[in-house]
């Protein structure tokens, strides 16, 4: 990120608000991982459906577990899923997109586009179900399903950008100096797609968190841990009986985190001037 981009981001009010929200959630996640926050989320510490009070700030759920602790732990889980999926799918998207764009209209390009087309053609939740089925419900099947499908958009955008960069003079100069293709792509082409990767990472993060919630609700995601999706699944019965603690805690936190990331993604797109990435 260049100096001007940072300045433009700093002047973007909603973007900074988004960044702050994301940082707060990241801090919560770090505290939850290191055991400072959200401990005892699995323990029964109160009665059934206690309302909010000094002992349980957000009340308790059906089993008498503290909803606040579960919400904080759910945040850690959302951030963790988002990070894992984002890192791997951006890496995959950058690598395959660069391969595809660099080879330009050759067979590697056709192959990558074909694989991306095939993966985009299968409705995602069905694909996730199929992966869970093939891996026999392994706890990582949710991450695998997301990584395997989420790289395609990044790859397509990187491909276009690499094709554009390929014809630039500095690439030609590098080639004239006798550098091989791999080195040129790694040292000179991919660094020039960094702005795309940063924006795509925020967008992928949003998609991963949203998807984790729905997969967990469908029983294809988190099974033994705690997740906002599982809290919403519990709450779907509770709200009919008038207990809104689980629902409000999970949905408000989920909304805040997603909103933060969306604002940040927009501000980054403006600051890095990638043009609005059409989703």
């Amino acid at each position: 990120m260049t100096g001007t981009a940072w300045q433009r981001l700093r002047d973007n009010g909603p973007g900074i608000a988004g960044l702050c929200i994301v940082l707060v959630f990241a801090l919560v996640a770090v505290c939850a991982w290191s055991g400072l926050l959200g401990q005892g989320w699995a323990q029964v510490t109160g009665g059934r459906w206690e309302s909010a009070g000094p002992d349980h700030w957000f009340g308790t759920n059906l089993l008498g577990q503290d909803i606040l602790a579960r919400t904080l732990q759910g945040a850690a889980n959302a951030i963790e899923t988002g990070l894992i999926v984002t890192v791997f799918s951006i890496f995959l998207g950058a690598a395959l997109g660069a391969l595809s764009g660099w080879s330009g209209r050759g067979w590697p390009d056709e192959l990558v586009l074909w694989i991306a087309g095939v993966l985009d053609s299968i409705p995602f939740y069905l694909f996730a179900a199929a992966v869970a089925y093939a891996l026999q419900g392994h706890e990582w099947s949710m991450h695998v399903a997301m990584i395997v499908t989420f790289w395609t958009t990044t790859a397509r955008i990187v491909r276009g950008e690499v094709m554009r960069i390929k014809s630039r003079e500095f690439v030609e100069a590098a080639r004239a100096m006798g550098l091989n293709g791999f080195t040129i792509v790694l040292r000179h082409v991919l660094p020039n797609t960094l702005h795309i990767l940063v924006v795509q990472a925020t967008i992928t993060f949003v998609a991963a968190i949203k998807t984790e919630v729905i997969l967990s609700f469908l029983g294809l995601g988190v099974k033994d841990g705690v997740s906002w999706g599982l809290m919403l699944a519990e709450s779907s019965q509770e709200v009919l009986a008038g207990h809104f603690g689980n629902f409000l805690a999970a949905s408000i936190s989920l909304f805040l985190l997603l909103m933060g990331f969306n604002l940040l993604a927009d501000a980054l797109q403006d600051a890095l001037d990638t043009g609005k990435v059409i989703r």
């Binding site: 074909w114 694989i115 087309g117 095939v118 993966l119 053609s121 299968i122 409705p123 995602f124 939740y125 069905l126 694909f127 179900a129 199929a130 992966v131 869970a132 089925y133 093939a134 026999q136 949003v206 949203k210 919630v213 729905i214 609700f217 469908l218 029983g219 294809l220 999706g229 919403l232 709450s235 779907s236 709200v239 009919l240 008038g242 809104f244 629902f247 949905s251 989920l254 909304f255 997603l258 909103m259 969306n262 604002l263 927009d266 609005k276 059409i278 989703r279």
Partner: protein, 314 residues
Amino acid sequence: MPYLARRLLHGIALLLGVTFVSFLLMVYFGPDKTYDLVGKNPTPQQIGEVRHELGYDRPFLQRYGDYLRQLLTLDLGLSDSSGEPVSAMLERSVPVSLALVLPGFVLGNLLGLAFAMLAAWYRGSWLDKLITSASVVGMSISFLIIIIALQVLLCTPYGLNLFPVRGWKVEGLASYLYYVTVPTLALVLVTLGYNTRYYRAIVTTEAERDHVRTLRAFGASPVEIMFRHVLKNSLIPILTRVMFSVPLVFVSGSLLLESYFGIPGIGQVTFNAITSDDQPVLKAVVGLTGVLFALALSVNDLLYTKVDPRLTER
């Protein structure tokens, strides 16, 4: 190679790819079902018979060919959990899902397009800012939250209590509206943010072109400019989005809506198959939606040539 032949070849490659992925995941790498079917203390011979019946002893490509044939002839076998023919289950549930999802799908796209055109016409004004911010808010709310919140607000005594919490007993227009309203609202709300934003990006690019500015300067009416010039020229990306999202919205949308509202459509069939590991149903649904998607893409390509005849010349 002529344009259409090339598109056709792409369509076939896509079709083979999609069916191959679902075959790999659902049939080849899927759990071994032999021991669910053999009795207690089976002899090696009995095991061999069951494996033969399931086709496990056949070569890889032949099994893939079998799967393709099953999909093409709609001879999809029997459901593991109910014993009903899978094709009969699909026949019963697909119309329900179409009736459930269609109004929300159409409304979500039309409203998104309408908001996008408003935002583009008043670009940079407070209205544009309001529409853009509202669509970011819409994009940040999970489908699940929308469904639960609407259910509480419209279907329970804690809200207006006007519509049913669950179920689908459609016998006429009144009962159809009674059951379809809340799911439709949910679908519109979840798609509106993304649609508006996408369409706004397309429409604003088109509305900034020189000929549009000239028309505006000559005082042509907004309706004429927007519909006759801007909309017409943005048709390709709009059509693409609509075609691309048909299978995805119908499957993913119906999956959540139907499992939540207890509506006996394809989504509920799929949800039950997921929770009970019903392989024949799952592999049929995954394979068929993939095939439908590949077909939708090919139809999309044909529509392109209708909208923009230049494409065939390239």
